[in-house]
Subunit: 407 residues, 2 copies
């Protein structure tokens, strides 16, 4: 039996409320200078109290040794096996810029590049043009009209942008035009292993994209260094069973960054405008507490500080996040869970494969002996060794929202 | 490679003996009043000694957050992935009343119900008639004769009973007649997604069941309030590879309740008459020690006390069970394992999703640091995070009954 069929067959609507707090890039690593990880250095009395009353363990986002991007890490958190639900780069780009993707859309990532008069790529990043230069060109490309399809071209950062094709009968199983090297012309975009039922749609879409690229070349002519586009990571909007369908929840996302809002929308969450600070996120949570039964509360800056290798900065964000918990408690959630999507240790200045602290707190969590919210302490928790995909069913159980399986 | 093919290819007959002691509903939860779980409150010096010499961990019956019924929980204990081997309700009912199910049998659960003169259901439980009233009607329905099929109708409890259809060419993939609501007539029983090879058999069985129901209606006429039957949960006797086949064991069940005897028979165990007390079970074990190499010893009342929310009662059963272990040791088993099928915390008065203490003791178990048989202590054991389906191969290994895999 498939897990989602199982969950759906057991899930029931109740009044209980679940609050899932995600510190992005939560997990850290001791640095040689400190001999302590970011969490070990941080003073987090409220998280420590939660762990003392809760059940905890380190949770693996994907599988052993695998460092996830934000997309798969969050899908895991939300209960989707990240190796079964692959989000294409184009779709992630579109989500990342806050584009309102619809079922049936095909998305791709764009690089603005430099092409010489012989039609050969000389710089795949067009000298890393500034974001506003990219935006100017996006505006030009947005005006391209092709029959039966709407085209959206929106800037990401620097030389990067996203293209979205919307219309009936499209299929995103297409090869890249980006040859990943210079001194050669762009590649032709062709169908790439489309499902048997979509061979015609893929050929049709490849044809449209080819016409779009030709038109782009003509409209960017003379705009050196960014006088051409390379497209890659074509994919269809990921069709995914929703939280409403699987868990019968009414879920909402409270986050500040477009990427996380986009990922939440993908799984069927409502997405609120939560401002740009922890305080505005907290106010948003309070103001909407009565309207939902599942709250995804995202704290971004732990990851940013980890990526920057800013140890004290990450400690500060952790300590700031810790101060929210007395406010959370006042709302009387039935279940509080805290974790990260993945680890981002300052030592590595990047995402990493290390499992992530997880704690669940409810009247029925069965507490273990752990007293402190840090990696070494939580490794001794009763849930240690769990995986991210276990989090959602565990929260459902703690909220008493699952019936018994079998008699 | 499929796990059962693996196990069968490695299993060998030896003289070593395995004793698996299952406290039904073993796992508990601290209560606010006590601050301790049932196991934490119980004095279990013999189990503590076993853990001190053994290897242990909390074991998950099905998967994270899933609360199992007795059927799937025991299948897991016996090494069968519970999500792959689904036992239908009708089969569980038949096992629960101790009916001797045979391969090819089709079983269903019966509700006696009330039908008005227009043929509409007015009470799906016939005013919850007493068990003896149900039994009287079962006797009447048992006399129904249909061509090519034997029909058994046996009382469960109150308004519930089990129907078993035995004959050549039956298929249990049938829809319910129970409409799950009142004010409507019973539904027609029809084939429900039978396998392609059994479409004819399913249609034949649906026809027989329909005739049985018509006959039941006629024979129960005037016996208000229980003047009709509703059938649901049709299923075939679960065909399952046996313990003898997979593990090359000669296994036996020592239990007091029909359900557990039935589940044991399903996996190929001999089932002994073990009386109704722990003492009679122990005597049965001793008397049959020379005849088998695998002993499933089931202790029921921990679960019953948990379901009743009787904390002290559950503590007493645990302490009573603990006193058996010196007697077990005297038999010189090569491997002793202790666990539960699932948790039944008094706090919840029901089965729960919490992982269950597991300990294995043998000369080769590789002991860990845990000294006390309770949930919080065992969460720190070397096997923590295991699943129930891991138990059987682990016991086989500790009994030195598995060859090496590969060269």
């Amino acid at each position: 039996m498939n897990p989602f069929d199982l969950y759906r067959s057991l899930a029931k609507k109740t009044d209980s409320k679940i609050l899932l707090v995600v510190f992005d890039g939560l997990g850290g690593h001791p640095t040689p200078a400190m001999g302590m990880s970011e969490l070990e250095a941080a003073k987090t009395p409220n998280l420590d109290a939660l762990v003392a009353e809760g059940a905890c363990g380190l949770s693996t986002p994907i599988s052993a040794g695998i460092t996830p991007g934000s997309g798969p890490a969050h899908l895991g958190l939300f209960g989707y096996e990240p190796l079964d639900y692959i989000i294409g780069r184009g779709v992630l780009s579109a989500l990342g810029i806050g584009f309102d993707l619809q079922p049936g859309d095909v998305a791709a990532r764009i690089n603005f590049c430099t092409m010489n008069s012989d039609g050969l790529i000389t710089d795949r990043r067009a000298g890393r043009i500034a974001t506003e230069e990219g935006a100017k060109r996006c505006k030009i490309l947005s005006e391209i009209k092709l029959p039966g399809v709407e085209i959206f071209v929106q800037p990401e950062m620097d030389y990067r942008a996203a293209a979205i094709f919307r219309g009936a009968g499209l299929c995103g199983k297409l090869s890249d035009s980006d040859p990943q090297t210079t001194g050669v012309p762009p590649l032709d975009v062709k169908p790439l292993n489309p499902p048997a039922t979509q061979i015609k749609e893929a050929a049709h879409t490849a044809n449209l994209v080819t016409r779009f690229i030709a038109e782009a070349r003509s409209r960017l002519k003379g705009m050196e260094p960014a006088n051409m586009v390379l497209l890659r990571g074509f994919d269809d909007h990921l069709q995914i069973p929703s939280f409403q369908h699987i868990f019968k929840l009414k879920p909402v996302c409270i986050a500040t960054y477009p990427m996380y809002k986009g990922l939440s929308k993908l799984v069927g969450m409502d997405v609120l405008n939560a401002g740009s600070t922890l305080e505005s996120e907290l106010e948003t949570l309070k103001a909407n507490w009565d309207k939902y039964d599942f709250f995804f509360f995202h704290i971004k800056k732990t990851d940013s500080m980890g990526e920057d290798g800013d140890f004290n900065g990450k400690v500060d964000v952790l300590q700031h996040g810790d101060t929210l918990f007395p406010e959370f408690k006042k709302l009387n959630p039935d279940v509080i869970a805290v974790t990260g999507d993945h680890s981002t240790p300052c030592l590595l200045k990047s995402h990493s494969w290390h499992p992530v602290p997880f704690v669940v707190w409810s009247p029925y969590c069965r507490p273990d002996n752990v007293q402190r919210f840090d990696e070494r302490s939580i490794a001794e928790g009763s849930l240690n060794g769990m995986k991210h995909v276990d989090i959602m069913p565990l929260l459902m159980a703690n909220a008493l929202k699952f019936e018994k399986f079998g008699a």
